[in-house]
Symmetry: C2
Subunit: 344 residues, 2 copies
Amino acid sequence: MKRPTIADIARLAGVSKGAVSYALNGQPGVSESTRRRVLAIAEEIGWNPNGAARALSGAPSHTVGMVLHRPARILGVEPFFMELISGVEAELSARSYALTLQVVADQPAEIAVYRRWWGERRVDGVLVCDLRVDDPRIPVLSELTLPTVVVGMLGESAELVSVWSDDAAAVVEAVEYLSALGHRHIARVGGLPELRHTAARTAAFEEVCRRLEVAPALTISTDYTGEDGARATRRLLSSPRRPTAILYDNDVMAVAGLAVAHEMGFSVPADVSLVAWDDSVLCQLVHPPLTALSRDIPAYGGHAARQLLDVITGLPASSVQDETAHLIPRGSTAAPPSATGRGA
Amino acid sequence: MKRPTIADIARLAGVSKGAVSYALNGQPGVSESTRRRVLAIAEEIGWNPNGAARALSGAPSHTVGMVLHRPARILGVEPFFMELISGVEAELSARSYALTLQVVADQPAEIAVYRRWWGERRVDGVLVCDLRVDDPRIPVLSELTLPTVVVGMLGESAELVSVWSDDAAAVVEAVEYLSALGHRHIARVGGLPELRHTAARTAAFEEVCRRLEVAPALTISTDYTGEDGARATRRLLSSPRRPTAILYDNDVMAVAGLAVAHEMGFSVPADVSLVAWDDSVLCQLVHPPLTALSRDIPAYGGHAARQLLDVITGLPASSVQDETAHLIPRGSTAAPPSATGRGA
DNA sequence: GCCGGGCACTGAACCGGATAAGTGGATAGA
DNA sequence: TCTATCCACTTATCCGGTTCAGTGCCCGGC
């Protein structure tokens, strides 16, 4: 089937291509009767604008891009990303924007994709995740002047718009809660240390442990996978100075950690308390259900998408702080074994 | 920053636009020395092909589309789709194809998106899910001659390529297993009845129940959500002829059903056995872990993507049958309460 | 020494829209 | 009545590539 073009419409309507273009775009320059005739013919022959031709004349692509730098197979089991994407999609689809996803193997490849998308005018803007401490993507995106919204925290000095949440405050809430239960030895199974939000969480964790005079904060770094979370948990629970509470940087690791605790014969929460970060259904399904730092991730993605659309359409947009994760106590946390009398 | 074009390269290299195009595309018509010079200049000034311009001359977009007709917020909690998408992405990204997702509210909107994508040459092909009994999308896609691969079963007579798995055989395996355990009253909590694979499962369920002379097959239709699965389970467990085993059409409903059983005071598997379809991590996390019909969903998506790329590139591609889901017995199934002596 | 053929390249048309500039006719104001 | 203005269009150009039909030049063969 041949695709109809405005030239076909022009021929059928007995006017020029230019007039058809004006009519279809609601521009002045054609009479109302001609406009109606053109629109009727376009509808009848099933005309669709050719995006390529429009893009060539500088029109937006109505597409937003997102590059994910991690193994594609992980995506299916990582609730955070999927919930984020679903929130982004919900916002985009409401405005008839599409989302283009591309999974890449490393950061140079990610930067290459941005350059390509920019060169090809394939996307109107991008959402950037997993900000690193000295992130090489930021200068590239600034240089390209590709509309960008960063999901996660960005330093003060940044010119890019970001949507972020106060992870430090959430860490403090969790540690204060554990401390109030009597825990004096709290460990953390953290995410990739080069990620900026991991660094912020680690700093906050260390500071609040110092302030509350609990044992020196111990953070074990992982790659966020369940396997790494299990390994870290095994190491913590078999160490001579075994912690009485563990704070995990995501839900997948917390669930894996719970399985490890059971496998090693520890009772949760009697022997060790566990707290997850991000509260997907996983946390509620396991036994005992996990105390978690919960936040509305789809909403987070939706806000990021909205900010990006504002940036793209030239509306004033500035970084916004999203909801801080809040603690939902469930069955995986209790007073530590030694604290029957709540003494130190 | 201004985007460099082949005209810039041509000027710098002192040749014509046409020669640059030949050089960049590996076409004959330029000398090796000129080709090298052109490539070096392109690299140096950071040239990227403008996809719009290429597409205007009929080049492929190196993008595959997928329209999801369901509420965007559901996506984050529906493991099936996310695993499918992750498998698709894994295959596509290996060949540098991108995936464009669009969530729509209804089927007319979905068809409109296909027409638009086709008209705009925005995607080279599409993956279609959730085939319905008389699916209005099929004739449209055939008419548009938009390369299409159907994920899920398609009738014999179809001209479209599909990747499918034998759901009927899986139903038979599950029912035979339950029957062997002694169950004589098996109910099913099925998905949307208008979906073709639901119909196939229902037919297979009825036939195998008849063959094994268990009680008439009862299927309750749902919309696949956990809420609907919970509602159906509540209805089944409070009916006078309470089933001793329930087969669910997805994992989300099975997990919800397990919660309902507990809430109503039934013990699983002592009072009622539960079997899930699709074996995400959810099934293994709950207590007791759920017996499930398991299949490799990312691989399923990957196969579909590969078939689509074959169709797009004009390679011979025909419908392929994917792995049949196989039963993984876990703690949620056992002999029914009355069957101590295994008698009827 | 002339001709045929191939190589390396140029120039221009083309893809399908957007849009600036130009045109002819009707109308209004002086 | 003559000009200025506006309207409703047409014409032409542009976007950035691809591709086809030349074109000039060199080389070999007879």
